[in-house]
């Protein structure tokens, strides 16, 4: 059996009457990049703070490694937290910041210096020891924050929306950087974010959360291609959802007297389902009759994005559909009536 670094068993957290985290259980394998993904207020940050020991669970048990840490103070836990705002100590320089956790461990000075140097190499900022925190750029602050959190060689590094304050370009850079650092040090990362792009880019596994509960846990591909519910489908990869009733390999649509051919699925007949189709799986054009499903549509909006074109179309039955197509030198204009379609293999059924 694989080693688990983090295990949560039926953890609940209440603030007064408000249930922030509602009976969740999951485990994270050693060395994995694990993301808690969900909209704000879904309980993901509270979950992370409970792992860090900054909040106490109302019910349930938390294990880090094999140890039950439910009663262990934050400063004695084998995990470290990377803060949303990084929280570098403003009155200390870079090496003092990184060394802080090591000093608390009472390591000898020479060992501390060695480790600080190593860590700065890992995060790609060698020679930054004497810099003051005010002199660092946004991306550098993040890297130093990670170095500081990794200094004590925690079993688990907890990250709370670390890329939130960065601009788009820097964020993309840091995503790659984070993943690289994680591979180099081999530490288990538990990552909290509301950004599906970040989660998809970096994670090995994702737990999608909503209103204090975990809706689905799985590999990134699984969540992307086979969202269990409409919520997950909309949140990850921005699927198009068309609701209807399943019957014998078809879904009869609510708004339209037609059906979508889906092939056989493990769904009971007459169940209400959401058909989800990824924007990039839909074809658009005037002559696509050879697909399994073809519908009439009108183009409402066109967004040209260079390599891709994003069409927002209104399908018959008043369904708004988003389509991503590779740009091959041709753009359909707004208001054009045409056809859209997809194969039955490109369809996934989720709970509504």
């Amino acid at each position: 059996m694989e080693k688990k670094d983090v295990v949560l068993e039926n953890v609940t957290k209440k603030f007064g009457d408000f249930v922030a985290v509602d009976d969740i259980s999951f485990s994270v394998k050693r060395g994995e990049f694990f993301s808690l993904l969900g909209p704000s207020g879904c309980g993901k940050t509270t979950t992370l703070r409970m792992l860090a020991g900054l909040e106490k669970p109302t019910k349930g048990k938390i294990y880090i490694g094999e140890e039950d840490v439910s009663e262990v103070a934050p400063f004695e836990r084998p995990c470290n937290l990377f803060f949303q705002n990084v929280a570098l100590f403003p009155h200390m320089n870079v090496s003092e910041n990184i060394a802080f956790g090591l000093e608390m461990k009472k390591l000898p000075k020479s060992e501390i210096e060695k480790r600080v140097k190593e860590l700065l190499d890992v995060v790609g900022l060698p020679g930054f020891e004497k810099r003051r925190t005010k002199e660092l750029s946004g991306g550098q602050v993040q890297r130093i924050g990670i170095a500081r959190a990794l200094a004590r060689r925690p079993r688990v590094l907890l990250l709370d929306e670390p890329l939130g304050p960065l601009d788009l370009k820097l964020r993309e850079e840091m995503m790659i950087e984070l993943k690289r650092i994680q591979k180099v040090v081999g530490t288990t990362f538990v990552y909290v974010t509301h950004d599906q792009g970040e989660a998809i880019t970096m994670s090995d596994e994702i737990a999608a959360m909503k209103e204090g509960r975990i809706i689905q846990i799985g590999s990134t591909e699984e969540l992307y291609n086979k969202p269990r519910t409409a919520f997950v489908a909309e949140f990850i990869g921005r699927s198009n959802l068309i609701r209807g009733r399943y019957r014998e390999g078809k879904v009869n649509l609510n708004n339209l007297n037609k059906s979508i051919i889906t092939g056989p699925h493990k769904v009971a007949d007459n169940d209400y389902v959401a058909v989800c189709i990824k924007p990039e799986r839909i074809s658009i054009g005037e002559d696509i009759a050879n697909l399994d499903n073809v519908f009439e549509a009108v183009i409402e909006e066109v967004y040209f994005r260079g390599a891709q074109i994003n069409y927002k179309v209104l399908m018959e039955g008043n369904y708004k559909i988003s389509i991503l197509e590779h740009y091959k030198g041709k753009i359909f204009e707004q208001g054009k009536k045409l056809k859209i379609g997809w194969e039955k293999e490109d369809v996934h059924l989720s709970e509504t």
Binding site: G53, F75, L81, Q84, N85, F89, H91, F100, A151
Partner: protein, 265 residues
Amino acid sequence: MLRYIFRDIGEKGFKFYFFLFIAVIYLPLVLLVVFSFNDSILMGFPWRGFTLRWWEQFLHNPTALGVVKNSFIVASVAAVVSTALGLLAAFVLVRHIFRGKNLITYSIMLPMLFPGIVVGISILIFLRSVLNIKLSLFTIMIGHILFSLPYVTLILMARLIGFDRSLEEAAYDLGASEFTTFRRITLPLIMPGIFVALFIAFTISLEDVVIAHFLAGAQATIPVFVYGQLRRWSGLPMVMAISAFMIMIMAVLLIISLISARRRY
């Protein structure tokens, strides 16, 4: 065209007013310092030549020197004690929610809501008629600690409200205990606020005449001594030297705060 000329005059007028304001508020102080060297027993114009007589009188007068010493003792003790009291209270008022918090905040602000004279006389009659304590430097300290408390507490509260708690959490997370976190993170970061509080409390005490006037016994502070001399209009030239001395202290305090402000902004 005319509009622009008027606007120009308006802008220049503003600038003129600004520098005039500074000149006028400093004028009396400059005159005092200059005329403390005037060779005349009458206080005021005209200038009759340079002398160090009044400064010598002041520096050889044991009463006057004692008064200076008293002022610094009282101000130092009052500043330290009121800052300590204010710091403890500010921590609780900013970081905890409890019943009666508003009432307690309001009562700590109370000394600021009365004129100093009311504070002075009420402490006076309490100490004299109820506790039967003799007036001394100690009684002045009591009054000054009370009077600075709201200012000090407000300053420290403002600092603590602006304090990023996640810095403390980061320290816990990195293995620091509560005490170590306070010593290594919280205290260094609020130190500037503590210095401002000490500075304000020290200044309030050093410059106060209202409360000290009622609570001073045989031992006076500088303002009380000068007030007494002025009311009798006696020993005037020497009083001018003492006043000039106080103004110079003010200038030193001002320069200190200028330097520390430069560093911060």
